[in-house]
Subunit: 386 residues, 2 copies
């Protein structure tokens, strides 16, 4: 087990009707900016629930934060935060809205001239403008971590950011919101969370036996509830386990004491930036090829995963490892998630070379748990994903 | 899954050499009281490491906090905290020292006349005197939770206390400390942590699929590393997994969203108060009888546990459940932990009646996950444990 530091101060309020708890969590004297996305919360009743819970509070609104939260849009919100002297933000949405609010939390207190520096220069945020969240879409665990990913259309870039100042003060997770999520988003959320676990698990044995068990437990739970969630998102028990699994997949716990990979995300982000493919789907495109390409260095964990998550107990270590990759693809397919780039865009040819050049230009050498994957390796993995 | 609130702000610093990190975690202007137990930390080098790390800080010491932290001793420390205007405490020890420091944290800021009221009247502590910990004995998870158990010899009482103000600011967990722990304490720690998980798991199916998986993962890990830890406590990998499993067993996570029992602890506490039996051993005495007595209401979870933790996959549900109890006893026996009260004291007769009267006197009705166990039930369970 590797040395680690772990702290996660976010207060989680989980369960039926928890949105009504907002009033006791928001500072009573706050000037609040409530931020949300395209307005789906006005259709599913969450907007009303939040507004009811915040009756008597001083609340302004900013809507229209898009999927893959867009820098230019966030700058408008930043202007409003400054002009209106906002002291607390409430993100009502999924990972995109929450990530956008994290950028705003950092940017509102950032002392430099250009907020883009927070992203391009990877400036960590030690103290941000405080915010809470009401989660409407389980997937990214942004509701219980201190990281965010922000996009910039103008330059087709997608950067990550973070820091201990960016944990939400509280997050409200009511699994009843799952009932109104479209099937496509449910499949994305399951795939996203599952791949988050894989990125922190599918490396090499490091003697972190407990972390392995917890990671496997999250994946087993996602596998168990996925068909139930897809079939009937109003199945509360399935929705609750889906929601809590997504949070636990990336709230920091399972990455502590283990090597982590994240190469799938780095490659996947490029596919979103280039083609606008849903984040989760880019992970499903890249992951199987990534594991096949790096088979030798990952085969022990692949075999352990095949055994414990998929019950594949026969065959050699290599056979089990191979079957584990296949089981992962089958799982994504069962969610109607395609796993080849060519199934998403007819313009897939040359993508590997474009990403090769982007990685080379940015100096992104050394991806993966061994920091050994070069842009040339990335090129081959992306090509295998066509 | 039941509704829940979860927050755990303790910062964990885990791994080799982490004691040296003390200087960056302790407030630089603090007047520090370092508290420890009987002096084993002076034999195993931890005392020196802590003093070295705190060079230049203003540090006083209080030693002699006994196992089952004793109220009268703690009052002496409380006097010192007040007279010396201590602003930060550092607990260096196991659960007893840390629990004692939690009582002091609460008592130092308590506005009432009699600190015993915190225990007898179950007063929750919203804000305590800040403290950190250096863990020397994995077992209770007191290093990452906000609860404590305090004893009073004069009245043979043992009470629990807690509140959100009692989380350690930080806890340093260096698995290398395990190497110098006597075998008896190692066996106790494993048994204690294992039973902590059982208390939060062995109830009835509540649809908390992920919590079940994590609880099972902790138990699987403890079962896997227990023989290695006992055989060679300097086996770092085994020690690290043992240590992190103990913390995860009772840091609040696995109890969220599920019914919990804790009847084994309530009964076990009486055996410690009456006979001075090690806390962990009292749990091993009570748990098997408790599960046999409440077999009907617990058999589904007992069977699931037997299957997933012990690999018992054949037989009827009842047969698996019964085999699960037997496997638990065998596990304790493998650690040289006896599971019958008569193996600890020749004066066991009448214990059930004494505990019956104590529970009746205190009005402790309604133990267990259904709050349905009466003192008469407790009497029978304790009798089955002779």
């Amino acid at each position: 087990m590797l040395n680690f530091e772990f702290m996660n101060p976010t207060k989680v309020l989980f369960g039926k009707g928890q949105i009504a708890s907002l009033a006791k969590e928001v500072p009573s004297d706050a000037r609040i900016l409530m931020l949300y996305g395209g307005g789906s919360i006005k259709k599913n009743g969450i907007y009303e629930q939040v507004k009811d819970a915040l009756k008597g509070f001083d609340v302004l609104e900013f809507s229209g934060i898009p999927a893959n939260p867009e820098y230019e849009v966030l700058l408008e919100a930043l202007k409003m935060i400054r002009e209106e002297k906002i002291s607390f933000m409430l993100a009502v949405g999924g990972g995109s809205v929450i990530d956008g609010v994290k950028f705003l939390s950092a940017a509102a207190l950032y002392k430099g001239d250009n907020p883009w520096d927070i992203l391009s220069l990877k400036i960590r945020t030690e103290k941000g403008l405080p915010f809470g969240t009401v989660l409407t879409l389980p997937a990214t665990a942004s509701e219980m971590n201190s990281g965010a990913v922000i996009s910039r259309k103008a330059t087709q870039e997608k950067f990550s950011m973070g820091g201990p100042g960016l944990f939400p003060k509280f997050s409200i997770l009511d699994p009843q919101v799952v009932a109104s999520i479209p099937e496509r988003q449910l499949a994305n959320g399951i795939t996203d969370a599952f791949t988050h676990v894989l990125e922190q698990y599918m490396t090499y044995p490091s003697g972190a036996l407990l972390q392995d068990r917890i990671a496997e437990g999250i994946m087993q739970t996602l596998v168990e509830v996925a068909p139930r969630v897809i079939k009937d998102p109003s199945d509360y028990e399935a929705a609750a386990n889906f929601m809590w699994s997504c949070t636990m997949a990336l709230n920091g716990l399972i990455q502590k004491g283990v090597p982590t990979d994240w190469a799938v995300h780095f490659m996947g982000h490029e596919l979103t930036a280039l083609f606008g493919i849903d984040h989760a789907r880019t992970l499903a495109i890249i992951a199987p090829s990534h594991y096949r390409y790096n088979f030798e260095s990952k085969k022990e964990k692949l075999a352990q995963y095949a055994e414990r998550v998929w019950g594949i107990t026969t065959g050699t270590l290599e056979e089990k490892a191979t079957a584990g990759i296949k089981a992962t693809e089958n799982f994504f397919h069962s969610l109607e998630i395609d796993t080849k780039l060519s199934e998403y865009t007819p313009e897939f040819k040359g993508t590997a070379q474009i990403i090769f050049r982007r990685f080379t230009d940015r100096g992104w050498l050394g991806l993966g748990e061994h920091k050994s994957l070069t842009p040339a390796d990335v090129e081959k993995i992306v090509e295998m994903s066509y």
